[in-house]
């Protein structure tokens, strides 16, 4: 069997946080944000966290779309804070978007990557970050002015502060253990209904 290269750059400590507590603890008050959630774990957990708020557009397909949806929204709504929450697999699918977003540098945009090192929806295969690929380093290399890694509970308050009063475009790597996301049942996300709800709530 071919062996994948376990990267020597894997210098981060083993993740200890449970996403079911860590994601709500970090976002804390979702009403502060217009939110985009990538498929699939983050879409389910933000849907649960916000009680299906119309200020959330969640993806159950179009993998790789979340960061750029957030950019288009942040450019269109410069007076609102925009939050993209997505997983490591979703972000890796279109990782060049980090470069595109950094060139625009919208100060009202935060991207949280909930990094569990696994493809949780497809059989829990280990992802590239599980082998040591550093998305925080990629974001810094792309030019994100604020990059912050959350490994433990003690890192949370600074993350919460950066999301709300940070010095501009922000990338937060929230490192969590593998394991399920909070999921309230099997209700489908219907994209055109989500679009209509989101626009009606924001634009009237």
């Amino acid at each position: 069997m071919a062996k994948l290269n376990k990267l020597q750059t894997a210098s981060l400590p083993d993740p200890v946080l449970d996403r079911r507590q860590a994601v709500p603890a970090l976002i804390e008050s979702p009403g502060d944000f217009l939110m985009i959630a990538g498929l699939a774990g983050t879409a389910w957990e933000l849907s649960a966290l916000t009680h299906e708020s119309p200020s959330l557009f969640g993806l159950a397909g179009a993998m790789g779309a979340a960061p750029m949806l957030g950019l288009g929204l942040a450019l269109a709504q410069p007076k609102r804070r925009v939050l993209v929450a997505t997983g490591d697999g979703e972000l890796l699918m279109n990782v060049g978007a980090l470069a595109t977003i950094a060139l625009q540098n919208p100060p009202n945009l935060t991207i949280i990557c909930v990094d569990n090192g696994h493809y949780g929806e497809t059989g829990n295969q280990e992802s590239h970050t599980g082998f040591g690929v550093r998305l925080d380093v990629m974001a810094a290399g792309a030019g994100f002015p604020v990059v912050y890694v959350i490994n433990t509970e003690a890192d949370m308050p600074e993350g919460r502060r950066l999301m709300r009063e940070g010095g501009g475009l922000t990338f937060i790597l929230l490192r969590v253990k593998e394991g399920p996301a909070t999921h309230l049942g099997k209700k489908n996300l219907i994209p055109h209904i989500e679009r209509d709800r989101f626009r009606a709530a924001l634009l009237g």
Binding site: A62, M68, G72, L75, A76, A97, L103, P191, R199
Partner: protein, 174 residues
């Protein structure tokens, strides 16, 4: 448009048309066929010019702009259409208004054999993903087709591509 468009000035007329219709986000992957639109958007303080690393980023950007109440256009070459296929699930499923201008390669007078596979596949691929395809063969066509596409996308909420063909933009320039 009352003014006469010529082989030289149609890209400038196209830029004015997009701006008059409220387009404020211009997403692009660099292409000679879109040079004027790209340069005009970069020089315009009232719009966001968004260079992409791959065209599918632009599909998602256009949808995000719509969520925030802005109008966007995606400028790409025919080869980039292939990069967008799965991302068009977002525009189709979400019924997002979607306007893209595609500068064509791999058709009339093309000299680079690498361009034909994707160039010839542009129309069936776009149609398979629910995008309506209009073609522009002359400068007048370009203005008329983009005018029509703006109405179809932003008034009727459709997904529309206007192909700027090699008869219009010229095969020899490349």
């Amino acid at each position: 448009m009352a003014e006469t468009v010529t082989r030289d000035n149609w890209p400038d007329a196209l830029y004015r048309l997009l701006r008059e219709n409220g387009v404020t986000q211009f997403a692009y992957v660099p292409d000679a066929g879109h040079k004027v639109l790209i340069d005009r958007s970069l020089a315009d303080p009232d719009v966001h010019a968004v260079p992409l690393t791959t065209e599918e980023e632009g599909v998602a950007l256009v949808a995000g702009a719509d969520l925030g109440g802005q109008r966007a256009v995606l400028l790409m070459q025919s080869s980039g259409v292939g990069n967008c296929i799965n991302m068009l699930s977002l525009t189709q499923g979400g019924r997002f208004p979607f306007l893209t201008l595609v500068s064509m390669r791999g058709e009339y007078g093309e000299g680079n054999p690498w361009q034909f596979a994707m160039g010839q596949a542009v129309e069936p691929v776009l149609k398979a993903m629910g995008v309506i395809v209009l073609r522009a063969e002359t400068p007048d066509d370009a203005i008329e087709a983009v005018t029509a596409a703006i109405t179809m996308a932003f008034q009727a909420g459709q997904q529309v591509a206007v192909l700027l063909t090699q008869r219009l933009i010229g095969a020899k320039k490349f």
